[in-house]
């Protein structure tokens, strides 16, 4: 049997990637568009078929009600958690959503849970990997923000299962990044990883010792990222437009405005990126009714504006250092991860916080996926490059049990190395009591109501005894994925107590089973079929290109012999096209590609490059957004 192919996946808020360890080097596997980054956008096409990535971004323009982005913000959350998100993101919830239920998002007239939408993104990445290896990939390591709680982790694992992937490990994103960095730097010391992405912020402090990567403290905010900067800029633009033109684009009902809001979003994202290198940028956006919204933003104003957002990372960094018992001077290196660390002001902040210049040797968009590939390699038995590497990660949040008075009794403290466990003893309050209820919480707050409710357990079948006599031992274990397991035993009878779990947020096993996109049994057949479809579609593309080439002036420059050869290759490809053998079709395509290389070169010489035009960003409807005071002068309208 061939060795397991285990891929590393970065399932990001904005972009997702899949990577693999090729020899001693992790490499990103490109998608069918040749690009490394797959935008984390999902849409349904007019035939209700899902499209993912750049294709979805384009499809969004016409059908915003059938598309969704930044779904990671909703993973493992309940309807009561996401009121803030709903103000800024065009998430359309199912009409019959009940509190406490797993969220369902409307795409057209269908509804999908966040794990299902994430699964579509994962499946797209899986396809790229399948193509790369020429066979199905079924095992993966998926990264999650270090500060993800149990429910968010479980939702990510469910997404993997739905996509037909066995998730061997969930790895924390900053830790994964440290693995990618540590691969060729075999030094010992303390490093801090500052990971500021599209939707989440993490800080992790690690001790490197003979290739053991030991996390000592982690902290973060799972709802803080580049999205928040975009939303701030959009809010200002919408305020301006409403104030000066009386045009309120934030009304959800004005479908026609979605495109304008989208144009604004696209423009501010471009402006944000430009402001990392330019002293100022000019926004110029066409509005409904032919007016234009114009505003110049200087770097200084922009930096003043985003200061409160980036300042929110400071508290987490200080807490992590405090938890690690370290002062900034004791940290040897600081590594930057995530697209938002391209902002010079963020880099300046990091430098000030840690008293040193941060490292940016690896592409901050790719480093997490590369690290996931390293971890995948370790799990697969290791290679020469990774054989001595070992990751010791921690749980980011304390685990607690609700006790009398609604108070949280912490039983596993945050920053405990995982796997970690704790044992609690329970007894009964009344004679013959057969059940005991346990409420499990995650968080740092004193009161249970301020912590995250993970689940309620009912210990059942406790043997009938007088009150206070049974002694039920309950063992809580956080595994290497940061996910909780619970087992119970009544000590006096030695009987294993039955546990019934009601996860506070999350899918049941049966629900996940029912959602699985590709049945494992059909994986090979599915793969063959998909390959055949793709090979046929590629055949159509190359034949169309050849027809076009024959009309090109370059065709005339070929020799008769060359033309004859091409005709022969074409004929054999057309013949194979009708057959079922995708490998033969692919081979014929390759042959034709080789044979027409000179033609292609000649055509290139005369070709005119065409600039890509058109809007391709996601549609946005903004809800009731708060207004944002800002330091800038009045906008101009003409």
């Amino acid at each position: 049997m061939a060795p397991d192919r285990i891929v590393g996946i970065d399932l990001g808020t904005t972009n997702s990637l899949v990577a693999f360890m090729q020899g001693d080097t992790p490499v990103v596997i490109p998608g069918d568009d040749g690009l490394n980054l797959l935008p984390s956008v999902v849409a349904l096409d007019p035939n209700h078929q899902p499209v993912i990535g750049n294709a979805a971004r384009n499809a969004l323009i016409e059908t915003p009600e059938r598309a969704v982005y930044s779904i990671k913000r909703l993973m493992g959350r309940g309807v009561e958690d996401i009121q803030q998100e709903l103000k800024f993101f065009p998430f359309r919830l199912a009409d019959d959503m009940q509190p406490g239920e797993v969220l369902r998002i409307k795409l057209g007239d269908k509804t999908f849970t966040p794990p299902e939408i994430s699964a579509l993104i994962l499946r797209q990445l899986k396809r790229s990997a399948d193509r790369f290896f020429g066979g199905p990939v079924t095992k993966a390591v998926i990264t999650v923000p270090a500060y993800f709680n149990d429910a968010q982790r479980q939702a990510t694992k469910d997404a993997g299962r739905i996509a037909g992937l066995e998730v061997l490990r969930l790895v924390n994103e900053p830790t994964a990044a440290s693995l990618a960095y540590g691969l060729d730097k075999k030094q010992n010391g303390i490093i801090a990883v500052y990971d500021f992405g599209g939707g989440t912020f993490d800080i992790s402090i690690l001790k490197l010792h003979d290739q053991i990567f030991e996390v000592i403290a982690t902290n973060g905010d799972t709802h803080l990222g580049g999205d928040d900067i975009d939303n701030l800029l959009i809010t200002i633009a919408l305020d301006d437009i409403r104030g000066d033109l009386g045009l309120d684009l934030r009304n959800n009902d004005l479908r026609g405005n979605a495109e304008t809001v989208q144009a604004i979003r696209k423009a501010v994202i471009e402006a944000k990126i430009a402001l990392s290198s330019e002293p100022s940028v000019k926004l110029d956006i066409e509005l409904p009714g032919g007016k234009r919204y114009q505003r110049e933003i200087t770097r200084e104003q922009y930096e003043q504006l985003i200061q409160p957002v980036i300042d929110r990372t400071v508290g987490a960094c200080k807490q992590a250092m405090k938890d690690a018992g370290l002062k900034p001077e004791q940290i040897d290196e600081v590594v930057l991860v995530g697209g938002s660390t391209r902002i010079p002001k963020v880099r300046a902040l990091v430098k000030e916080l840690f008293h040193r210049e941060p490292h940016i040797d690896l592409n901050p968009d790719e480093v997490v996926a590369l690290g996931a590939a390293v971890q995948a390699n370790i799990l697969g038995g290791g290679s020469e490059a990774t054989e001595n590497m070992l990751l010791l990660d921690v749980t980011p949040l304390s685990l607690g049990i609700e006790v009398a008075g609604g108070v949280t009794d912490k039983i596993i403290l945050r920053n405990s190395t995982i796997p970690a466990s704790a044992t609690q003893f329970y007894t009964t309050q009344i004679d013959g009591q057969a059940n005991v209820a346990i409420h499990v919480l995650q968080g740092e707050r004193e009161l249970a109501k301020d912590c995250r409710s993970l689940a309620r357990f009912d210990l059942k079948g406790i043997p009938g005894m007088a009150a206070g006599i049974p002694r039920v031992e309950v063992r809580f274990l956080i595994d290497a994925n940061g996910i909780l397991h619970v087992s119970a035993r009544e000590q006096r009878s030695g009987k294993e107590a039955e546990i019934q779990v009601q996860p506070s947020y999350g899918l049941t096993d049966e629900q996940v089973e029912g959602m699985i996109l590709d049945s494992f049994d059909n994986a090979e057949e599915d793969f063959r079929r998909r390959q055949l479809i793709e090979a046929r579609s590629e055949t159509a593309t190359i034949l169309a290109a050849l027809e076009k080439g024959k009309k090109d002036p370059a065709w005339g420059q070929l020799t008769t012999d060359e033309k004859k050869k091409i005709a022969k290759m074409e004929k054999s490809l057309v013949a194979l096209h009708a057959e079922e053998d995708y490998k033969a079709i692919r081979k014929a395509i390759d042959v034709l590609n080789q044979g027409t290389m000179r033609l292609a070169e000649l055509m290139m010489d005369t070709a005119v490059s065409t600039a890509l035009k058109g809007k391709n960003l996601d549609e946005t409807d903004l809800g009731e957004a708060p207004t944002a005071p800002h330091p800038m002068a009045k906008a101009e309208f003409e």
């Binding site: 397991d4 149990d150 429910a151 479980q154 061997l168 490990r169 010792h209 003979d210 053991i212 971890q375 370790i378 799990l379 697969g380 038995g381 070992l390 990751l391 010791l392 006790v403 009398a404 008075g405 108070v407 009794d409 405990s416 190395t417 995982i418 796997p419 970690a420 466990s421 704790a422 499990v440 993970l454 689940a455 063992r475 274990l477 956080i478 595994d479 290497a480 996910i483 909780l484 397991h485 619970v486 087992s487 119970a488 035993r489 294993e496 546990i499 779990v501 996860p503 506070s504 999350g506 049941t508 096993d509 996940v512």
Partner: protein, 249 residues
């Protein structure tokens, strides 16, 4: 929250002392087989024994860290990811035991508390029970003030009360704040000094252990001293927390 895995982890196997590897039959080390490297089923042992240590308190932390890393390289689930499901479960169990043991032993206070727990003193449970009882009855938890602190605590509590009143009325009394700040520093240095005191009892304890089976009375004597230090330390710890809270709000 986990689902399928929940039923998958059954209660740990009953204590079974075997000394040969389940896989290759060789004599094995405690947690993994020295011959074939396979992880062995966990055997319930105390944290000191897990590391092959005598129940002594003056630990060489560097050496402990070294064994922690060495054992991690054998027991961690990442390095046993390709093993069978039973072995993976053992690996998770053993690895969590290792982490729990290391976390407890590397910290001087947790280590002492743990040793006292092995000696039958349940400091945390006592405190927890008291807290829960207080909560249930709605009373504040009664703390026994260490005698040498009586006077100081009495005065400090008056000052804290005054500080809180001032905060309510918006008054500012810099002299009072300064005084409380000073008290806090004094408490913190006492807190620190108690660790030193504790360490002297560690030595006494370790000597007892080294001498072989120590008379119960002698053990109890050192044990009680350590309990006393920890209680005082905990009391000061809570006091400092109260001072911080009063100064912050």
């Amino acid at each position: 929250m986990t689902k399928a895995a929940l039923t998958a982890i059954s209660a740990p196997p009953l204590p079974q002392e075997t000394h040969s590897c389940w896989s290759c039959g060789s004599m094995r080390a405690a947690h993994f087989c020295e011959s074939c490297g396979k992880v062995q089923p966990p055997v319930p042992v105390d944290y000191f024994s897990f590391f092959g240590l005598a129940p002594k308190l003056d630990l060489d932390i560097k050496a402990l860290e070294k064994s922690f890393y060495e054992l991690s390289r054998k027991l961690h689930p990442d390095l046993n990811a390709r093993a069978g499901s039973q072995e993976q479960e053992w690996s998770m169990e053993q690895s969590s035991l290792l982490n729990d043991a290391y976390r407890t032993l590397k910290d001087p206070i947790k280590r002492t508390q743990y040793l006292l727990h092995l000696e039958g003193v349940e400091l945390e449970e006592q405190s927890k029970t008291a807290t829960e009882q207080a909560r249930a009855t709605g009373e504040t938890k009664k703390q026994i003030v260490p005698p040498d602190l009586l006077e100081e605590v009495f005065e400090l509590n008056m000052q804290l009360e005054e500080l809180r009143m001032n905060k309510k009325t918006g008054e500012d009394d810099p002299a009072l704040s300064e005084e409380v700040g000073k008290q806090k520093l004094s408490l913190e240095s006492k807190h620190e000094a108690l660790l030193g005191e504790l360490q002297t009892y560690w030595k006494t304890w370790d000597n007892l252990i080294d001498r072989g089976p120590a008379p119960l009375a002698e053990r109890a004597q050192v044990r009680d001293k350590m309990v006393d230090v920890l209680n005082r330390r905990n009391y000061i710890h809570n006091l400092v927390r109260d001072v911080n809270a009063a100064m912050e709000d």
